[in-house]
Symmetry: C2
């Protein structure tokens, strides 16, 4: 089930970063560790949202859940696809896995 307020998938503990307000995503991550007792939470983003994903991971781990969670793994990749004009474009992606300490 995708929560439309924060774009997180509560079953898999994944948060997809987009153009919603910054704190929606931070709250989404925090809730996965608190309300949902997740052991890990994965922050995923593409393109220009990658910087925002790193900010969200840092704020969650260093400010709100300091001493309770940490960055476990970070991976980057890129996907090629055709845009609306049929042109081949490439977009970078990031996955940041946070885990309970």
């Amino acid at each position: 089930m995708i929560d439309k307020t924060t774009d997180y998938d509560s079953k898999d503990h994944v948060v997809f970063i987009g153009d919603k307000p910054f704190m929606n995503y931070v709250t989404g991550v925090i809730m996965q560790f608190t309300t949902q007792k997740a052991e890990t939470s994965t922050i995923k983003a593409r393109g220009k949202f990658i910087s925002k994903a790193v900010d969200i991971a840092e704020v969650a781990a260093k400010r709100f859940l300091e001493g309770q969670i940490e960055v476990s793994t970070i991976s980057i990749d890129s996907e090629g696809f055709k845009n609306t004009e049929g042109k081949d474009v490439r977009v970078s992606t990031i996955e940041i896995v946070l885990k309970k300490l």
Copy 2:
């Protein structure tokens, strides 16, 4: 010595990503592995340039030096400092280490 065209430090094989053209940085990374025979090259960026840093790493590793280099480690952090108005602000940072295969 800092090369002002690409902001790379040729001795330490570090490329600092800023607002110069995208391909300047890609060329900087490629030159470290080719002309300078580096074993590793580290891409560093802060704040909004983090997305650009990931793009540069992906383009260097998947397009220009495909099969020759790969992403070795990725780390994120954040730094607090006072801005020009004396206000405490926080900025996220990323370091992407590429290595020769």
